[in-house]
Symmetry: C2
Subunit: 403 residues, 2 copies
């Protein structure tokens, strides 16, 4: 039981996520020293505010013993299994001032699947609990085909669309991951205890919350950032006018991820939120699993094992991402339409790839549209480390040195 | 029976639409001299190619007598009723090299409604003949509400969606217009003869074709440009993968009109074309009549009676169009997204308004997006005539001097 591991388990007990000040503190001081300073109360105000209420609650050994007993595990940034690359978008968004999207300090995981592998090119399928038969059928159908195509399906284990998505992926024998807004042992939702057992058998059930944490409305919203971050794109299957699924979609958009929505009959209240997302929030309409795969593409979320550091900033981009990058001007911005025309890449893909390239430090928005990033080095210059130049914080550097 | 009227009736007999060379010839020489020159064969090659086959077929008096007997009329560009402003987009598109969209030389009209008034802020509702109950219900419902809101509903009188749209508008006691791909007396489609009688009672049935002209596949496609031109936007309610309704939508797009599509269940083959239009062709998703009205806006297709000539180029623009115009840069292009952000006008409306502003000579596309038109005068300069500066041809000038 390493010191880092104990420190991370302690931090998960102490800081209710999202805890941006604690995350930044740990990035600066490391988990062991951070935990010690927090325990003593020897911390800046912002960190104190996130930790004072529970800092004396040191159950790290008990929590780790509980996990060992149950066959669960704590996955930390120090582990190979940590999905560092997908979660990077949370650090980037926090750095940009997006609120409430701080990275997790560690994750409690139950299940057979490695989290970093599951999160490679994964897709989230989410939607309303008050789903229709049409919505559940569509969610299960999409999940089945995606899982069959080796794409892991992430969702939130709720009744309705979420459950149908998990079931569809399971029926294809594929990997599905449930991210919870409560502890792994909360037994919630009660009607999905059996489903979560089956999800864990070949996939994973994931939570930031230490054992005993009950579900709460704010925890579902906080959890949504993990579903969005761990996947290349989020599909909303059914959503009413005020569905929480729209929150996941908004978070995915804020993280630069692809947001997709499934249309339905215009008279169906359960599709109103999806139609609003497509009409007003620029979500891409998807009517099939191949629409989903076309839309998310294959950019940037995974890297081949042992490939070493890239030699050019554009190494590791897929063919369409390369074409989009090449179509970007050095100075004048171009509209997505102009880039689509020049690159020959469909507009929906261009719209999906531009924010991904931005996250990778390869594109930026300007007044007149999108152009190549000026802060980065010459793409032909043989600079090492695609994203190392984009943010010098240890937290971000770590991502590129762990693999 | 004026000489112009006889000449136009002759030209409709002689030239199978679209007849761009004849339209340009008539714009230069006027209808009477053009008809005489065509009758004699004293015309340039391009005009000869469009007229040689039938130039000796002078049934103008008979056709006008037929119309008088049936209670029909010939509406010509010389008449107050001519929908000059909506049809202007056909001249503009032809001038830009869009093929097969030449303006009509005149129109045979049956019915109580004035064509210019019906075409003010009208909406086209079109779709597949092989429609589902869902599609027909949705088309009728949209048409009912639009007609109830004083928006005329144009369609093509076909079975399926078209018929449902006409019926929906009729049931609201509103104005609906059927544009045919055959003569007014063709009795086609056979099952809609009664419906067309009801359409004519309060609205209009319109055709370019002289009496006796049978329906033909190419005439439906040619007719589609009139449906697109005479309306502010086209709504596709259901369309299979290869539906002709998608041709109307493509034509509407080429004419700078708003293209909208209604989503449906993802498993329905009748909605595949609509989903493709939204996903791949940037059609705006509409789920209700208020979505349609929001999307088409109220720009430019109508002008108050007796308002006289505008003093500034931007006079006559609605409030949102003005905001979009103000958000455009003088030199650097901006993306629709950037313009939406700056103007506070929703992106879907910005996308609809930009091509309308372009038609009005107030915006233009450039490499990096959209900017104010450079060819036009300073918008603050008190120049008279919004669109007069945009194209000096007599055909275009006429539009502003007829009213």
């Amino acid at each position: 039981m390493s010191a880092e591991r104990l420190a991370r388990a302690y931090l998960l007990r102490v800081a209710e996520p999202p805890a941006p000040a604690v995350v930044a503190f740990v990035a600066r001081h490391g988990p062991v020293e951070s935990a010690e300073l927090i325990r003593r109360g020897d911390v800046p105000d912002a960190v104190a505010q996130e930790t004072t209420a529970r800092r004396e609650l040191d159950l790290a050994r008990e929590d780790l013993a509980w996990a060992a007993r149950e066959g669960y595990r704590l996955v930390t940034p120090e582990d190979d299994e940590w999905p560092a690359w997908p979660l990077l978008c949370l650090d980037v968004a926090t750095g940009r001032g997006v609120r409430d999207v701080a990275a997790p300090l560690a994750l409690w995981v139950r299940g057979a699947a490695r989290l970093d592998e599951a999160a490679t090119d994964a897709v989230a399928i989410v939607g309303a609990r008050a789903a229709t038969e049409y919505g559940e059928h569509t969610a299960a159908d999409l999940a089945y085909t995606l899982a069959h195509e080796q794409t892991a399906v992430f969702s939130g284990a709720a009744y309705g669309i979420d459950g149908a998505a998990h079931r569809g992926a399971l029926s294809a024998g594929g990997v599905t991951v449930a991210v919870l807004g409560c502890a792994l042992d909360a037994g919630y939702p009660a009607g999905h205890v059996g489903l979560l057992n089956r999800v864990a058998a070949g996939g994973a059930v994931v939570s930031e919350y230490p054992p005993g944490t009950p579900p709460a409305r704010h925890r579902f919203l906080v959890r949504n950032r993990l579903i969005a971050a761990l996947t290349a794109g989020t599909v909303v299957v059914e959503a009413g006018r005020r569905s929480g699924a729209r929150n996941t979609a908004a978070t995915a958009g804020a993280l630069g991820k692809v947001v997709m929505a499934v249309p339905g009959p215009v008279g169906s209240a359960a599709s109103v939120g999806c139609h609003q997302l497509i009409r007003d929030a620029h979500a891409t309409l998807v009517a099939s699993a191949s629409d989903v795969l076309d839309t998310v593409g294959r950019l940037g979320t995974s890297r081949p094992e042992g490939a070493g550091r890239p030699r050019r900033r554009t190494d590791g981009l897929g063919p369409q991402a390369l074409r989009v990058h090449e179509a970007l001007g050095e100075r004048r911005g171009k509209s997505p339409e102009g880039i689509a025309t020049e690159s020959g890449v469909p507009l929906a893909r261009v719209r999906a790839l531009l924010p991904e390239l931005e996250l990778a430090g390869l594109s930026e928005r300007c007044e007149s549209g999108w152009r190549r990033s000026r802060s980065g080095a010459d793409p032909e210059s043989g600079q090492t480390g695609i994203r190392a130049g984009q943010d010098g914080s240890p937290g971000l550097m770590r991502v590129r040195t762990d693999g």
